[in-house]
C-alpha cells in the first residue's frame, strides 16, 4: 500500500462497489442488506483467519494463485485512462495488454481450483475455463470496435480521439451492451455465476480456499469489478474528459458506479443459466451483435474519417 497508492484507492473503491452491489441487491430483493463497513469487516475477518491448505493440494500453486489474480487486476488499471485522457502508463497496443491482464484472474481461478484437488473445485475450474471461451470473444470484439473507429489500439489515444469527436461514443452503444453481458460472465455474476453455482458445486473454485488466501481472492474480484467497469467506462463512455481534475474524478466515479449498478440489477432479475445455455447464448446471439458493431464502425470509419 505504501509502494503503490493506487492499490489503496482500488481497495477502497472496490469495497464501496461491493457494498453498493450487495445493498442494492438486498433492497431490490426486499431485504435490509449489509451495513456500509461489511466488505471491510469481511476482509479483515478473512485475513486474520488461519489458511487451511488441503493435504492433497499443491501448496505453492494453491498459495500463489490469489496473489497472481490480485496483481494482474491491479496492474491492468495502470493502462486505463481514468479521468482525463492520460493513463498512468501507455504505449501502442495497451488495450490488448489490459484485456490479457483481465483474463489472468480467470486462469488463476482455473489453476487454483484445479490444484486444490477437491472435486467441486475441479468442476468449478473446468466450468470457469469453459465460460471463458464463451464470453471472451464477444468482449474482445466489442471493445475492438471503438478502437477501430479511433484507429488506435492504445486506450489513451482512444480517449484523445473521442475527446476531440465528442458524440462519436454514441455509435458504440451495441458494443456497450455486449460488453456488459461479457463482463457479467467475466465477473461470474448471476446469470453467469456457473463456475461457483452454490447449489451444485458448493463454491466451485473457492471451495477449499479459506482465510487470507480467500480474502485475497475476494479482494481481487472486488478490484476486478472496478477495473472492468473502468475499462468499459474508458472505452464506451468517453465524455467529459477535459473537465478539471476534481470534477473529472467525480464523473469517473459516477460512470463506474453506474456500471456497477447495472451489474447489480442484472444479477437480481435473472436466474442462473446452465453452461450449455450460456455457450449457445454467447455464440449465437452475443457474438453476431459484436460482429455487427465492428461492421458498423468500419463503415462509419469510411464515411466520417478521411
Amino acid at each position: 500500500m505504501l509502494i503503490f497508492p493506487g492499490l489503496a484507492f482500488l481497495m477502497i473503491f472496490g469495497w464501496a462497489a461491493e457494498y453498493i452491489d450487495r445493498k442494492l441487491n438486498a433492497r431490490l430483493q426486499n431485504r435490509i442488506g449489509p451495513p456500509w463497513f461489511q466488505p471491510v469487516a469481511d476482509f479483515i475477518k478473512l485475513i486474520s483467519k488461519e489458511d487451511i491448505i488441503p493435504e492433497e493440494a499443491n501448496p505453492s500453486m494453491f498459495r500463489a494463485m490469489p496473489v497472481f489474480a490480485l496483481s494482474a487486476t491491479v496492474t491492468a488499471i495502470m493502462y486505463i485512462p481514468l479521468w482525463g485522457t492520460e493513463a498512468l502508463y501507455s504505449f501502442k497496443g495497451d488495450l490488448i495488454v489490459v484485456l490479457y491482464l483481465l483474463t489472468i484472474p480467470t486462469l488463476t481461478y482455473f489453476l487454483g481450483g484445479w490444484y486444490s484437488t477437491s472435486l467441486y473445485s475441479k468442476i468449478g475450474a473446468v466450468r470457469a475455463l469453459t465460460q471463458l471461451f464463451a464470453y471472451e470473444v464477444p468482449l474482445l470484439m466489442s471493445i475492438l470496435a471503438p478502437a477501430l473507429l479511433a484507429d488506435t489500439w492504445s486506450l489513451s489515444r482512444m480517449a484523445v480521439f473521442y475527446n476531440t469527436h465528442p458524440w462519436y461514443w454514441l455509435f458504440n452503444l451495441i458494443g456497450f451492451a455486449i460488453s456488459i453481458i461479457a463482463l457479467l460472465g467475466k465477473l461470474e455474476k448471476v446469470p453467469f455465476d456457473i463456475p461457483e453455482a452454490e447449489t451444485e458445486i458448493v463454491a466451485g473454485t473457492f471451495t477449499e480456499y479459506s482465510g487470507r488466501l480467500l480474502g485475497l481472492f475476494r479482494l481481487s474480484i472486488d478490484i476486478e469489478v472496478i477495473v472492468g467497469s473502468a475499462l468499459l467506462a474508458a472505452v464506451f463512455l468517453p465524455f467529459g474528459l477535459s473537465l478539471p481534475p476534481a470534477l473529472g474524478f467525480l464523473l469517473f466515479v459516477v460512470k463506474v458506479l453506474s456500471i456497477v449498478v447495472i451489474l447489480a440489477l442484472a444479477r437480481t432479475v435473472f436466474a442462473r443459466l446452465r453452461i450449455d445455455q450460456m455457450m449457445v447464448f454467447c455464440w449465437k446471439y452475443v457474438s453476431p451483435f459484436a460482429f455487427l458493431q465492428i461492421a458498423i464502425n468500419l463503415v462509419l470509419k469510411g464515411i466520417l474519417i478521411r
Binding site: I123, A271, I275
Partner: protein, 407 residues
C-alpha cells in the same frame, strides 16, 4: 474430464436436510445417480408404539416440519375410524381450513426453494416474504407457525372465531394477487423458463410405474388427487378442480403447484362461507378398541398414508407412515437420465422432498436364512468404512494421520 463420482450430501448447500446422493459425472453429464436415505432416521414409528394415542397425535405432527398438520390429521383419521367416532362437522371444516392454509405455505416455500436452486434468489426472497402472510394467519388460528397442535382424536382443540375468518379471507385476497404475479413470472421470465422447461422429464407411464404421487404425478398428466378420489374431512362439500399438466417436466410441476394455490384460495373462501355451527370435538375413549385402519390424505407433497393397528389398550400396536417423498424419490433417478449436473438441484427440489419424513430403518435379511440380521457396533463400523471405500471415499489414510498426530 474423465469420469468422477461426486458426493452430494450428507452436507451440501443444495440440501436443506442431510441426505446422501452420489452422482457419476462424465464432464457435465450425469451418468449414474444413486440416493442413499437414512441420515435423518428418528424412529418415530417405534416411538409411537410406546406412547398413548393422545401423545402420538403430537408425535406424528413432528414427522414433518412443513406438512405437520397433514401427518397428524392422517393419524387421527385412522384412529377415529378404528374407534368409530363421529367427528363434528365444524371440526372437519376447521381441519380442512388449516390443511389448505398449510398447502399454501408449503407451495410458496417450494417456489422460493426452486428459485434458489436455479440461482434466482430474488424469487426466493419475494415468495418467502409473502409466505409470512399465511404463516401469521396460521399462528393466529392455532398459536404456532408450524406444528399447530390443532388436532385431537375426535375433533380439534381450538375453535375459529368470526373475526379470525375475516382475517383469513383478507389474507387470501392478498395472497391471490401475489400468486398471480408469480404465475406471470414463471410463464414469462426467460432465464427461469430456460432452466425449468424440458428438465426432469417424467412420462405419464413412468409416473404411474414408479408410483409418483401429488404434484409430481399431476404434472405428468396423472389425474390423481385423494381430496377428490377419496374425500376426507370437508372436501366432499367443496368444489375444486384437480390441476394437471402435460408438460411432464419441472416447468409443469411449477405450474401445477401455482394452480393448486389458486384452487386453495377458492376452497378457503368456500370453507369460510359454509362453516357450520356446532361443537368442535367429541370425547374420545382413552383405550381404543382392537382393530386396524388405513388413512389417506393429500399432503402438499402428495398422498400421505398412515396405517394404525390397535390392540385394545391405550397404546397403538403398530403405526406405519408412508410419507409422499418416499413415493416420489424413486422418480428422481429416472428424471435425471442424460441430464447435466446443473439440473440436479432443481430436479431433486421439484419433487419437493422432505427427507426426514422419509427415512426408515432398513432390515437386512440374508438370502438363505429367513431371520433378520442384526449388526454389532464393530461390524456396522467396518461396514460403513467398506461402503465409503466402495464409493471412492477413503478415510483410512486420514485416520492414520490423525492417530500419528495425536501420538
Amino acid at each position: 474430464m474423465h469420469k468422477v463420482i461426486i458426493p452430494i450430501g450428507p452436507q451440501h448447500p443444495m440440501l436443506k436436510e442431510p441426505e446422501s446422493f452420489s452422482v457419476t459425472l462424465s464432464g457435465e453429464k450425469i451418468m449414474k445417480f444413486s440416493a442413499r436415505l437414512g441420515y435423518n432416521h428418528r424412529g418415530i414409528e417405534k416411538a409411537c408404539e410406546e406412547r398413548t394415542y393422545v401423545q402420538d397425535v403430537y408425535l406424528t405432527e413432528r414427522i414433518c416440519g412443513i406438512c405437520s398438520h397433514s401427518h397428524s390429521t392422517c393419524f387421527v383419521q385412522a384412529v377415529e375410524e378404528i374407534a368409530k367416532l363421529e367427528v363434528p362437522k365444524r371440526a372437519l371444516y376447521i381441519r380442512t381450513l388449516v390443511a389448505e392454509l398449510e398447502r399454501i405455505h408449503s407451495h410458496l416455500l417450494w417456489l422460493g426453494v426452486a428459485g434458489h436452486e436455479v440461482g434466482f434468489d430474488t424469487l426466493l426472497m419475494y415468495s418467502w416474504r409473502d409466505r409470512e402472510i399465511v404463516m401469521d394467519i396460521l399462528a393466529s388460528l392455532t398459536g404456532n407457525r408450524v406444528n399447530y397442535g390443532l388436532n385431537a382424536i375426535g375433533g380439534v382443540r381450538r375453535d375459529v372465531s368470526a373475526e379470525q375468518i375475516k382475517d383469513v379471507l383478507k389474507a387470501v385476497d392478498a395472497l391471490e394477487e401475489r400468486t398471480k404475479y408469480y404465475i406471470q413470472i414463471a410463464t414469462q421470465e426467460t432465464t427461469l423458463i430456460n432452466r425449468l422447461s424440458g428438465v426432469g422429464i417424467l412420462s405419464p407411464k413412468d409416473a404411474i410405474k414408479l408410483g409418483a404421487v401429488g404434484p409430481t404425478a399431476r404434472a405428468s398428466g396423472v389425474d390423481r388427487d385423494v381430496r377428490r378420489d377419496d374425500p376426507y374431512a370437508a372436501y366432499a362439500d367443496l368444489k375444486f378442480k384437480v390441476i394437471t399438466d402435460d408438460h411432464n417436466d419441472v416447468y409443469g410441476r411449477t405450474l401445477v403447484r401455482m394452480g393448486e394455490l389458486i384452487e386453495s384460495y377458492s376452497m378457503i373462501r368456500q370453507l369460510a362461507k359454509k362453516m357450520p355451527e356446532g361443537p368442535i370435538a367429541v370425547k374420545a375413549p382413552r383405550k381404543i378398541p382392537a382393530g386396524e385402519a388405513t388413512s389417506r390424505y393429500e399432503a402438499p407433497r402428495g398422498e400421505d398414508v398412515h396405517y394404525v393397528r390397535s390392540n385394545g389398550t391405550d397404546k397403538p400396536d403398530r403405526v406405519k407412515v408412508r410419507a409422499p417423498t418416499l413415493a416420489n424419490i424413486q422418480t428422481v433417478a429416472k428424471m435425471l437420465e442424460d441430464r447435466q449436473l446443473a439440473d440436479l438441484p432443481i430436479v431433486i427440489a421439484a419433487i419437493d422432498p422432505c427427507f426426514s419424513c422419509t427415512d426408515r430403518v432398513t432390515m437386512v435379511r440374508e438370502a438363505d436364512k429367513r431371520s433378520k440380521k442384526l449388526m454389532e457396533w464393530e461390524e456396522l463400523h467396518s461396514y460403513s468404512i467398506h461402503w465409503y471405500k466402495h464409493h471412492g471415499i477413503d478415510f483410512s489414510d486420514l485416520n492414520k494421520k490423525m492417530r500419528k498426530k495425536l501420538g
